[in-house]
Assembly symmetry: C2
Homo-oligomer: 158 residues x 2
DNA sequence: CCTTAGTCGTTATGATATTTCATAGCAACC
DNA sequence: GGTTGCTATGAAATATCATAACGACTAAGG
């Protein structure tokens, strides 16, 4: 078992398919994928890495799509709110969702050497954090599960 | 099964015992629990809530123990580095460790209503995130596992 | 036309974190 | 005693991340 983010793949298709899927979802759910929102999604899809809000803003600014922080944050809020992107708490950064579809509780593997980020989905109910919460009578609404370390390539390189 | 953070307990003992345990550990490991470090630990222990660095700094400043951000951050770095406190990524804030002792991979339950935070320990190797990483050939060095939701009290109140 | 909800652009501000350079205290060693 | 190395501090500036607030624009529905 390997992960797209950690191995070679047709990345152009990654981007095209990702945008198309979100476009379909927005139509289906009556959401407006405005130009800025779409562009931010493309920027996030352009690499399997997490990008900071200001890094994204730099690109928008260069393209004349906005220059102030709220422009980027609003687009990111839209994308994360609807599950098209995720926020990586450990990095204060964002990444496009790579398990697109329904709502899910993502798990991230973050390589500290090459900065790649892989997303896995997981069932909170069956996870350890779910078990702990249940035992404590705690009702989970959202989870943050991120592991930092070395990806297969970087382990090999080291 | 319940959690200290989520139920009534002798909180004064919580603080005293917590400081005493860290003092012993510092002696044992040859670490220096300086006045500022000790005071920051006490501040963190004073509540089962996460506190922001500047919130802590305000207290230090009022007591003449330092007024600049690095003063608070250095003490927090010391405490987190040695496992006496943890950083809650979701909140950009810090909390005293409540499972004091050896190195561990903490799991946090964060109540969004009353802001209490409970810490559990867990074995990464046996957790879902560990299983996912293993399958991907990813070597974990650190994990962030935080659940946000409602604690037992707040569930009942709602 | 008018209203309303959503979006957008901008200014200003707040909150969090790091970098940099300089200094103080202390113990080991010669 | 003087030097060296180490750890902790102090102080200033800067970098990074995030939100509040307000007015203007626009599309959809009556
Ligand atoms: Zn996802
Ligand atoms: Zn890597
Ligand atoms: Zn702990
Ligand atoms: Zn609560």
């Amino acid at each position: 078992m390997t992960d797209p983010a950690f191995e070679a793949h047709d990345h152009h298709a990654c981007i095209v398919d990702g945008v198309a899927a979100v476009e379909r979802a927005c139509v289906a759910r009556g959401l407006q994928l405005t130009q800025t929102r779409k562009r931010v999604l493309e920027i996030l899809l352009s690499e399997h890495k997490a990008m900071g809000a200001y890094e994204i803003l730099d690109v928008l600014r260069a393209e004349g799509l906005g220059s102030q922080p709220p422009v980027a944050y609003r687009a990111l809020e839209f994308l994360t709110k609807h599950g098209f992107a995720h926020r990586i708490e450990r990095l204060n950064a964002f990444i496009a969702c790579s398990h697109f579809g329904d709502a899910h509780a993502p798990v991230f593997l973050i390589c500290r050497r090459c900065n790649s980020v892989a997303e896995s989905r997981s069932d909170v109910a069956k996870s350890e954090i779910g078990r702990i919460a249940k035992g404590a009578g705690f009702v989970i609404e959202r989870t943050v599960r991120e592991a930092e370390g070395l990806c297969p390539k970087c382990v090999e390189a080291a």
